[in-house]
């Protein structure tokens, strides 16, 4: 999505996937627009624009946030992790590997947000149980899977990371 060229720009520095980035954006630009439009990180998706589907979830200082309802300047001097910062084809993160092994991705549109939401949970609570996982996923919608295989994958990743 384009950034409104008419607005005055603000400068901000933020760390994205371990790299410090300096950006000049319109103050009304959302963090999602910054990531997708300016930085080309399209793993975070746009599904609703009002924070209800969770497809735009990224980690902000380790917490899962919906970046479509967050202005980019709110991320000033903070650490953002997107799905692109997690693993590589040769070395998938255990959550990514579990999503492959358990067929937890169907259309794949919610997959980055599901994995990042689960990462925030397991980082804070490495022994999270099914109930905790369901609680954490509550704000992230999947229309394809019925959530069964997503929960299974997260449990498997939890065990693999233990």
């Amino acid at each position: 999505m384009n950034v409104n060229s008419k607005s005055p720009r603000v400068s901000l520095t933020l760390n994205v996937n371990g790299i410090t980035r300096e950006c000049h954006v319109a103050p009304t630009v959302t963090l999602l627009e910054l990531l997708r439009g300016e930085l080309g990180l399209t793993g975070a998706k746009r599904g609703c624009d009002d924070g209800n589907c969770g497809a735009c979830t990224v980690l902000l200082d380790g917490k899962a946030v919906r970046c479509c309802i967050m202005l980019a300047p709110q991320a000033r001097d903070r650490h953002v992790v997107t799905i692109e910062g997690l693993g590589t084809p040769e070395r998938l993160h255990p959550l990514q590997q579990a999503f492959v092994d358990y067929f937890a991705a169907q259309c794949g549109y919610c997959t980055p947000s599901m994995i990042l939401t689960a990462k925030a949970l397991l980082d804070e609570q490495p022994d999270a149980q099914e109930e905790d996982i369901r609680h954490a996923l509550h704000g992230t919608i999947c229309r394809c899977t019925g959530y069964v295989k997503i929960v299974q994958a997260i449990e498997a990743a939890r065990d693999a990371m233990a």
């Binding site: 999505m1 009002d50 209800n52 590589t88 067929f103 794949g108 229309r143 069964v148 299974q152």
Partner: protein, 785 residues
């Protein structure tokens, strides 16, 4: 051909999805992710009607056109005057016919300028009466006529509508209905309905159209069916098909939303042709509700006569399918009606189906094409009958389910039906005969079950193409979709199995009209059957070519050769032949006059056409025919629910789904369809409904139109999926389809369980808390009096 699992090495196994590594890394590209690749990309915004029905008295776009950065403003008068076969008019003409219909579209240098520009367009409307209720719309004198040209559209066969909004009708009559009712011991008559609901796939509709020098047009879209969309654009803009290329990258779900009704592709193409630039049209979530298709609301009236032993002896059905504001659509309700025909033996039957227009968003294909809505009625009725007869829910169903080899009411001979085993499997899984354990508090628990069948629509042809490259690897090309169900994986499995190679040696090319042979779209659960059969036949064609190439070199006859593990060898003599890659050595085989197959050049190409069924026809008076549809998938659902008698909230605590998909080519992908279908159907059965005020939808957002979150789905260990396949003779390894079956029986299973929990029978979906509470209150009052 049916499967012998012992002889299979890839088909029937849970190989990793071919697309999953990219998906978990966030590298998979969807249409909106491609926008950065286009310098100078223009963005569109659409002005939509605020009224359900109004005459456009004046439309002034001059202020919008003068806004700096605006490159084009298009209204109905700029659109092609004719309609393409599968697309309605793309912008309103003299009248708007639903709240949300496009009136004008702007292309501008930024999305913000486009959004500003549509606010500068001045429209003067004169409001007209509207109709949202299908039964009112179907009257001889409806308050509103939605499509004033119905029956008189140029290019379509003229006809006289049965009533001004009735778009078509189908009738089926078999046996002697009056005699049947005379013989019946119990007769029950009811009216059931379903609400308007949305596919709500997570990826909103998006399209990018690029005008190229020489008048070529390339379109990237998440619409389904690259060849279908290409044909539509060619027809609409009178462009030769060879000048149009349609590409669908990965698609973030569809569930029927992105087949037909290709407004977004037509608008993007029109703007690209007008501006001679590249234009993106991207719907917001709000526009997905207001401007894209919904599912079909259906009203079903059933009168059933049964004998004391549960045998159905008379069935009378009247089915009314709400098309919404369709334009030049000839929906007759026949597909929805099939849901009432394909499960049970019904010797004396009369069914009348009708399609009707209303002033709501155009309603169309949605997982099941009306069958789940009719199954809701049929299966609620079965439980009502069972109770009247003092029979169990299982026994009355098993008494009436059709057997293989029998004829259904259409006159079709059933080739494959696993319905009875589906019922038995879910009854066992949820222990239907064991009452639920009640806990103190407002929640009442109970169980319920239902079964349904879904026709497979015979549709067009699928072509397969398989390329054998000079390294011996195999490339599969197909023109259908990957909307998330795993079609790419299934096609790769088929090729790996046929060539006796591993999945890593198979590559898939899909979703590009310039690279793939013709196919339709992924719909009606037919991709495994249609495209799968085509790929399988193309593999056979390529294997034959390789044997033909290998035979002279191996001094053997083609019939004595086999292709496996990347080698062509004498059957039963491992190590006797040569690696397929060796056939492609630079000189010798090509120079060998005997190796005719290689003299066609490389890669070796296998091709096929799979056209499963000729155009169907039926007796105009009785509606009967030996072949109405291709085949039927079956599915039963058993649930345990909890209903809160203080709030009316219904929760599905436990669920079992049993599916007859013919044969599971990938069991885990089949499970995924069942689990996903369960959650989706919990949504349409309990949560989801379009709400209207003055003809305008008032809940077009995920906040207000609530689709199931993980909290609405049963916990992992409380979902059971079961396979009860009955192989289809001409399915690949016996496979039929599975995706739509998953949503068939969930609603009625929940409704039956709610009745078993509370004694209140609810006839209308969804079972929203408000509706359930009202029914509980009415029931309590009727018991008291």
């Amino acid at each position: 051909m049916t499967a012998n699992p012992a002889k299979l090495s890839v088909v029937g196994t849970n190989v990793p999805r071919v697309d999953s590594v990219d998906k978990v890394l966030g590298r998979t590209k969807y249409v909106a992710d491609l926008q950065l690749e286009f310098a100078g990309l223009l963005h569109a915004a659409i002005l939509r009607s605020p009224h359900a029905h109004a005459r456009i008295v004046a439309l002034d776009t001059s202020r919008a056109e003068r806004l700096p950065g605006v490159r084009a403003v298009i209204t109905g008068k700029d659109c092609p005057k004719h309609l393409a076969t599968i697309t309605q008019r793309i912008l309103a003409q003299d009248e708007v016919i639903w709240a949300g219909e496009g009136v004008a579209v702007v292309a501008a240098e930024t999305p913000e300028i486009a959004a500003d520009a549509i606010e500068l367009i001045e429209v003067q409307y004169e409001e007209l009466p509207s109709v949202l209720d299908a039964e009112t719309a179907a009257l001889e004198k409806p308050p509103s006529i939605v499509d004033r040209n119905l029956g008189r559209h140029p290019g379509l066969a003229p006809f006289t509508p049965l009533a001004p909004n009735v778009t078509g009708s189908y009738q089926l009559h078999n046996g002697n209905l009056e005699q049947g009712f005379t013989e019946a011991d119990v007769i029950v008559e009811n009216r059931f309905s379903t609400g308007r609901f949305s596919h709500s796939q997570l990826e909103p509709a998006a399209c990018i159209a690029r005008y190229e020098p020489g008048g070529n047009l390339t379109v990237w879209t998440n619409g389904q069916g690259v060849h279908i969309i290409k044909g539509m654009l060619s027809e609409l803009f009178a462009l030769p098909g060879s000048k149009i290329r349609v590409i669908t990258p990965y698609q973030g779900g569809s569930f029927g939303n992105r087949i037909r009704f290709f407004h977004i592709e037509a608008l993007a193409a029109l703007l690209a042709l007008r501006t001679k630039a590249t234009v993106a049209v991207t719907y917001s979530r709000r526009e997905m509700y207001l401007g894209s298709p919904s599912g079909l609301p259906v009203i079903t009236r059933i009168r059933t006569g049964v004998k004391r032993d549960g045998t159905i002896v008379a069935q009378e059905l009247d089915i009314l399918v709400d098309n919404g504001a369709s334009y030049a659509c000839l929906q007759d309700g026949r597909a929805a009606g099939s849901g009432a025909i394909c499960v049970y033996r019904q010797p004396n039957i009369s069914m009348v189906t009708r399609g009707v227009n209303t002033n709501a968003p155009w309603a169309g294909a949605y997982r099941g094409l009306g069958s789940p809505q009719v199954t809701w009625a049929m299966e609620s009725q079965m439980d009502i009958l069972a109770e009247r007869l003092g029979m169990s829910a299982v026994d009355i169903r098993l008494k009436n389910i059709l057997s293989k080899g029998e004829q259904n009411a259409y006159g079709e001979t059933i080739e494959s039906i696993g319905a009875a085993r589906c019922v038995e499997a879910v009854a066992e899984a949820i222990k239907i005969a064991t009452p639920s354990v009640q806990e103190p508090g407002p929640w009442r628990r109970a169980k319920g079950l239902a079964v349904g069948g879904k026709q497979n629509t015979p549709r067009g042809r699928s072509e397969g193409m398989v390329l054998v490259h000079d390294d011996g690897s195999v490339e599969v090309r197909f023109g259908s979709d990957e909307v998330g169900m795993g079609a790419e994986t299934i096609m790769a499995q088929i090729a790996a199995e046929e060539f006796g190679i591993s999945m890593k040696d198979v590559r898939v090319v899909r979703g590009d009209s310039a690279m793939t042979p013709y196919d339709t779209y992924s719909a009606s659960s037919f991709t495994t059957y249609n495209t799968g059969n085509a790929i399988r036949l193309a593999c056979h064609d390529a294997i034959k070519a390789i044997k033909r190439a290998g035979a002279p070199l191996l001094q053997s006859s083609e019939d004595d050769l086999e292709v496996a593990n990347g080698r062509v060898e004498i059957r039963g003599v491992p190590g006797s032949g040569l690696r397929i890659a060796e056939l492609f050595k630079p000189f010798s085989p090509f120079q060998d006059e005997r190796v005719t197959e290689l003299r066609k050049g490389t890669p070796v190409i296998g091709r096929s056409v799979f056209a499963p069924c000729p155009a169907v026809a039926w007796d105009k008076k009785t509606g009967r025919t030996p072949r109405m549809w291709n085949w039927y998938q079956y599915n039963a659902c058993g649930v345990e629910i909890a209903v809160n008698v203080e709030t009316g909230q219904v929760k599905v605590v436990k669920a079992a789904l049993a599916a007859d998909m013919g044969f599971p080519i990938h069991p885990k992908l089949c499970e995924g369809q069942l689990e996903g279908g369960l959650a989706m159907a919990i949504g349409t059965s309990v949560l989801e409904e379009f709400l209207y005020r003055d003809g305008v939808m008032i809940n077009p957002s995920f906040a207000d139109y609530r689709i199931p979150t993980v909290s609405d789905a049963p916990t992992r260990s409380n979902v059971t999926t079961l396979f009860t396949p009955d192989p289809l003779p001409d399915g690949p390894w016996g496979a039929k389809g599975v995706a739509e079956g998953a949503v068939l029986a969930v609603g009625a299973a929940i409704g039956n369980a709610v009745y078993n929990a509370t004694g209140a029978r609810i006839y209308d979906l969804p079972l929203s808390a408000e509706r359930v509470l009202a029914a509980l209150t009415a029931h309590a009052e009727s018991v008291a009096s």
